[in-house]
């Protein structure tokens, strides 16, 4: 061992697996300055860093659109797929079938999910595949210059003044109804809430669906839009105050059980939901759907964790596969011996 003291540079903060936050960064974003998606990428970087996620285990997946470019802007050393429009869920499903030790992190947009991708989205939700599925939701198609998407509110206006006259698809309500087991809505401008929800999702085993309102500064941030920064700030009604305590931090948090719900997640982490205006039970599907409907009726954007089910087995659990990734099973495990072929041939004679 060296005996001379090495002058130490000011040590950068490392996480529980010894990595610095810089190791969770991605390429420089090519999205518009001020795009909500960039803030979400930042929160994903923080969440993965703080949770001590191993980057090589992460499969970043996306479809097509501005949102779907963003996996290039975080976790550069992870593995990524920028798939075809609206079909990322199937690619994610296949990847997890091949290797269920991967941490699937899907990023989609409102067009990619609620229009072209609605078919794969609903089946992803009902399978409860272990994936963190983030919708970067701005109510418009950005990359094709501002057409309405299927999450745009009735009456919301384009820059040209054209008003949307079809009702929005509430991806959270759909996800809850279909069987996703961790369903939340947040706002790209709410750092604290979004970070806590992302970390909670990483600690959850099953489909975590996060619809994050993420204003499009270029095509949908004007007066008359219901997905502009100012509109969302004015109408955001958090359903509860959410904080996250990871399993590896032995911190006992003082809270009043009368005002706070403590949810123990799959990996032993805790989500603490402190009551705000009203009582809310995030394990009750019916209540979650009612809260969403009422918020719509009142013109509010309700955010927070709407629904969580820590018991339902994931799709991978149901498949009862061997622990080792199927992708790397040796030939001896996947090619039956000659005797089996002989036996089958005999039965066909």
């Amino acid at each position: 061992m060296a005996t001379t003291a090495v002058p130490a540079s000011p040590a950068a903060k490392t996480n529980r697996i010894g990595l610095e936050i810089v190791q969770y960064k991605g390429n420089k974003s090519t999205l518009c300055a001020g795009c909500g998606h960039n803030a979400i990428s930042e929160r994903i970087i923080e969440a993965c860093f703080e949770m001590g996620v191993e980057p090589h285990r992460v499969a970043k997946l996306s479809g097509i659109g501005c949102s779907s470019k963003s996996p290039a802007y975080f976790l550069n050393s992870a593995y990524g797929v920028n798939a075809v429009h609206g079909r990322m869920p199937s690619v994610a499903t296949g990847a997890l079938l091949a290797n269920h030790h991967l941490i699937a992190l899907g990023v989609s947009g409102d067009g990619d999910t609620a229009s072209i991708g609605i078919g794969q989205f609903v089946h992803l939700m009902r399978r409860n595949l272990p994936i963190l599925y983030v919708i970067e939701d701005n109510g418009v198609y950005g990359l094709t210059k501002g057409q309405f998407s299927a999450t745009a509110d009735v009456g919301s206006k384009l820059k040209t003044g054209v008003a949307n006259d079809l009702p929005p698809i509430d991806t959270c309500a759909l996800a809850i109804q279909l069987g996703a087991t961790y369903v939340a809505r947040s706002f790209s401008g709410d750092k604290k809430q979004l970070l806590a929800l992302l970390k909670g999702a990483l600690a959850h085993h099953g489909t975590s669906m996060l619809d994050v309102i993420s204003p499009c500064v270029t095509f949908n941030d004007h007066e008359g839009s219901t997905k502009s920064y100012s509109y969302v700030k004015d109408h955001d009604e958090p359903i509860a105050d959410v904080s996250f305590v990871p399993f590896f931090e032995d911190i006992s948090v003082e809270y009043d059980p009368g005002t706070t719900t403590d949810i123990t997640l799959h990996d032993g982490s805790h989500l603490l939901l402190r009551k705000l205006a009203t009582d809310y039970d995030p394990t009750n599907k019916g209540e979650a759907l009612r809260a969403l409907t009422e918020a719509h009726d009142k013109g509010e954007i309700v955010t927070g964790l709407f629904y969580v089910d820590t018991e339902r087995p994931s799709f991978i659990d149901l498949l009862n596969v061997v622990d080792e990734p199927l992708a790397t099973l040796p030939e001896s495990k996947v090619r039956p011996p000659k005797e089996v072929l002989d036996q089958v041939m005999q039965s066909l004679m």
């Binding site: 593995y79 499903t93 990847a95 078919g119």
Partner: protein, 614 residues
Amino acid sequence: MATTHVEPKEAAAPAGQARSVNDLSIQVATVNGSGSQTANLVLLRAIFQMGIPVSAKNLFPSNIAGLPTWFTIRASKHGYIARRKDSEYVVAMNPETAEEDVQGLKPGAACVYDERLNLKRLRDDVIFYPVPFDQLVTPICPDARLRKLVRNMIYDGVLAKLLGIDMEEIHTALQKQFRKKAKAAELNWNAARVGYEFAEKNLVKADPYFLERMNATQGKILIEGNAAAALGSMFAGVTVVTWYPITPSSSLCETLIEYMKRYRLDKETGKATFAIVQAEDELAALGMALGAGWAGARSMTSTSGPGISLMAEFVGFGYYVEVPAVIFDVQRVGPSTGLPTRTAQGDILSTAFLSHGDTKHPMLLPCSVSECFTMATEAFDLAEELQTPIFVMCDLDLGMNTWMSDPFPYPAKPMARGKVLSAEEVRRMGGFERYKDVDGDGVGYRTLPGTPDRLCGWFARGSGHNEKAIYSERPEVYVNNVDRLAHKFETARLKVPGPVIIESERHKVGIIAYGTSHWAVEESLDQLRREHDIDASYCRLRAFPFHPQVHDFLHRHQRVYVVDQNRDAQMLGLLRLECDADEIRKLRSVRHYDGLPIDARTVTDQIATQEAAN
């Protein structure tokens, strides 16, 4: 009903007719959903067990119950197993089609029929054997609900008597068919016996057709192509199977599920060494297969024409991102929904270039159940070695019909997993470039997600990318990349199965065929020689891209007939794209596209006519 007892005359044909032994087609016309499949398969198996080469074609409607269906069994001492156009025997069980079935018979043919149909009045040049099926079934099957299913077995007994099929073989075949369902086996056995006894007492053999024991099926198996492909996939070590039901491919994955549950559970843990998922549609089925291929699994899907159309976008993605997957296309008749239960080779051109932009894909072309098995194994090796989707182009005739075959060979080579780098290798190299053509074969090196080193990560994108897999729109980067993909296709050309060539010494007329047309061509070669003094060479394609030997074959012959089971001569079209002007001038077309499997007579007639005009 005749009541006189007639002594069986097994040894002799009726006066004035020569005995015809082991050379006939039996067509059974029934209503679908009536349980006739069991009776037909038992008949097929019984003939097979007598050592007689046999084949079967099931012509069925896209329906569950109530529409006409025909099952043709051909027994051929010569070993021909292609479909034949006409039949020596028809069993007319379907009132809807009975008259047409009889009218279509050639003079001297025989007809076993349901007495109630009163078909005798229709022709006097056909031999009729009326059978009172309802009367016979009632006493042996007290449960009225089962009678409809059991009564078909009666014709097995009748045919056994008339043609000389050993009833012991019917019994053995029934046991095999019903395996553990002893009660059902017995019920059916009683029906067959009742039929036999009825024929023995009441029918006078008046046709010259006989079946006699041979020794040509010893050690052979009977299997459908879809089951063979399923077995091939299992022995190829497939781990992820994602599919969407569609006729005629469904039975491939369904059979695979059965085999995998039986043979691919881990001995120690009882857990599955595979995942099989029924997807929400064909787009998702292929998306999952590609996701799994990206993550390193041996993945597959199976589908038919409409599914192929839906998969187009993802296939281009797989091609450009360079992800392995195996796609079985069990072709049926298109366009659109087409004739879902009829056979064709109609997806050749669209699949070869499936998806937008410059794309082309290797296709394997099995002609037999044995090749369904071996090419399945080869397809998984090729997919991983070439890092691209590989198509196995079966058709309904091969996939869903029962074929006689030699037992399948156990894979001789270990699984070829292609160029996959470990973390250690990447570290040693100080990194890697995903799409760099290091070896000059157009195939780059890849790492699998989860490989534990920060140098191993890469981003698979369907958008333009450079050698490092980073987004790029630069013109020269794009050209380099797609040129490398074209070069990789040339690597594929020498890796895919080459053609099988039977050379005539005359070097004038050649035939090129692929897939199930093989069986008709094989028989047609004999017909052409015998009837037209045409001694043709034969080149059976086994894959696209075409091996250089195909061009050599074209060079050696003056006229080459390309046999296609589609309207537009699709394989000929594909050849034209790869041939020079001299070669193209030699190409002629033989086409058959009515939804029925191609027969030798069609090939012979079309070639003979064109040769005569030459």
